[in-house]
Amino acid sequence: MSALPLTPGRHAAPPPAGRSPWRLAGARLRHDRAALLGLAIVALFVLMALAAPLLTALNGHGPNEFHPEKIDDALAGAPRGSFGGIDAHFWLGAEPGTGRDVFSRMVYGARISLLISLLATAVATTAGTALGLTAGFAGGRTDLLISRVMDLVLSFPQLIFMIALVSVLPEANRTLELVLVMGFFGWPYIGRIVRGQTLSLRNREFVDAARATGMTRRRIVFHEVLPNLMAPVLVYATLTIPVNIGTEAALSFLGIGVRPPTASWGQMMSKAIGWYQVDPAYFVVPGVCLLLTVLAFTLLGDAFRDALDPRGGNR
């Protein structure tokens, strides 16, 4: 019986046995230059954030040390020297008004930026996946309720509401507050996508086949549906990170982000606004950091989208 001729697959050269969809995507990513560039930039910033204490030990200035000798009171506090006071010790110059080391503040700013945006993304992704999956799989009234809540949250003018919300919250742990507020406004984006994907997965015959074998609902959700959602979730989570980086910077820029003296890029930019005529270099550093991280995560997210086949391996 086993001698029946097998028809060849659709591909001229079938891939070697046991290549999971994840490994196929990995192989595709390794040949994607934009993805590699994005990944390199992300890795650079992550390393920088992790190694912040080491890096500031190298130049000898903590992010919050004042250096009055670096600024010129005759020039209303602009840094001494050219390009914002760049020299052998102040690699990216000094902050106007205080003389704090711009490099040190940039490095510590990366910590805040990445920490808040990654945690907020994790909150939004977890909540969005759980609620979207529940809505799509349960259907009926549960779906109706969750979908209406998603519509409601999405219909808020978000920045205004975030500003209002953060302003009225007691100042206990600003980082945590920012994470929760950004996560709260972010989950419906992932939730909607997960719900839509779940609805289409639920009608795929492999879910029927699982039911016909007598698998429990719980096992169907975790073993049949959820693994098929991981690719789209990864893509949209990656694309949510740059949005959150931007939001954190905007809130800090508006003065309701993390509290000084904690360094953040948005805060640096808002300070630089007042100095751009005398010291344009000060604006460039946080601006470039913001631009690069947002660009890198977006490149990476787009590359994931291409490599992971958002149809979930459907043909």
């Binding site: 028809t7 046991g18 074998t213 098929n228």
Partner: protein
């Protein structure tokens, strides 16, 4: 021999925006152990709905399903679970029916796991061999398979628990014509080896001719003719069966040229608004006034049952 499966007035309605659809409307059937019943009809006549109710993927609106003498119509999932291993289904689209993120081996092991088999490995490998895939395919993912191979895996999953009844819902319709016969032969061979019964769903009579002992023809949610294969194929009693059969090419070119051909006009009406009287009357070449008002019931006609006021044979 006692019936393995008995359907009694099985009905399923769906509420849609255009009103209530009677997808399956009072189907009575029996399937005996080890036999194959062909279930044939045009698209939308309710074949899949019937098949899905049989395996309890879909609840019946009314009617009764008895499996092995036991009423399973409303059995709760927990009590249905032990029976799942005896009552299985093969789907039309082999790729859609395999989870792209699981290996073939784990997909085929799942029904055994549900039935409490501790070490499914050996039985999975044995089943892979039986369906002609080879045990080495266990670690592969569905996307690495051709359509025919994927359908073999779907068959292995359905049969690994040694079911007594398998609903095969158009198991070859999505495959290349060149592999259809291979899969049909495989199903027939497995039936002989494993002593199982099939409800074999198809949309034309040609596919099931060689595999089924009995055939049921459905139209708009009802069975219009049911009987032994040779009786029905030899001399169809219902005009609809006759029309379906005349669309099947005959192997003999002379017979093919000379036979009477009945072309079905138009599409079947929507099950949301079934015609009064005989549901087939708007398309029937024999329709009379009586057909437009009085609905024919299944009755004994020349050795089989047919639902027609003016059957082709007496």
């Amino acid at each position: 021999m006692t019936a393995l499966l008995e359907l009694d007035g099985l009905t399923r309605t769906f509420r849609t925006r255009r009103g209530t659809v009677r997808a399956v409307d009072g189907v009575d059937l029996t399937v005996r152990a080890g036999e194959t019943l062909g279930l044939v009809g045009e698209s939308g006549c309710g074949k899949s709905t019937t098949g899905r109710m049989l395996v309890r993927l879909l609840d019946a609106t009314s009617g009764r399903i008895a499996f092995g003498g036991r009423d399973i119509t409303r059995l709760p999932p927990r009590r249905m679970r032990p029976l799942r291993g005896q009552l299985q289904i093969i789907f039309q689209d082999p790729f859609s029916s395999l989870n792209p993120r699981r290996t073939i081996g784990s997909i085929i092991a799942e029904p055994l796991r549900v039935q409490g088999v501790r070490d499914p490995g050996p039985r999975v490998r044995e089943m892979l061999e039986r369906v002609g895939l080879g045990a080495e395919h266990a670690d592969r993912y569905p996307h690495e398979f051709s359509g025919g191979q994927a359908q073999r895996a779907g068959i292995a999953r359905a049969l690994v628990t040694r079911p007594r009844l398998v609903v095969a819902d158009e198991p070859v319709s999505a495959l290349d014509v060149s592999i259809q016969a291979q899969i049909v032969n495989l199903l027939a061979e497995l039936q002989r080896d494993l002593d199982l019964a099939y409800v074999f769903i198809a949309h034309d009579l040609a596919v099931v001719r060689n595999v089924c002992a009995r055939v049921a023809v459905m139209y708009l949610g009802r069975i219009v003719e049911i009987g032994d294969r040779d009786t029905v194929y030899g001399a169809p009693a219902h005009p609809y069966t006759k029309a379906l059969l005349s669309a099947v090419p005959l192997p003999d070119p002379v017979a093919e040229r000379e036979r009477e051909r009945i072309v079905l006009r138009g599409d079947p009406p929507s099950p949301a608004e079934p015609p009064a009287g005989c549901a087939f009357h708007p398309r029937c070449f024999k329709a009379q006034d009586r057909c437009r008002v009085e609905r024919p019931v299944l009755a004994e006609v020349a050795g089989r049952q047919a639902a027609c006021h003016f059957p082709e044979v007496h």
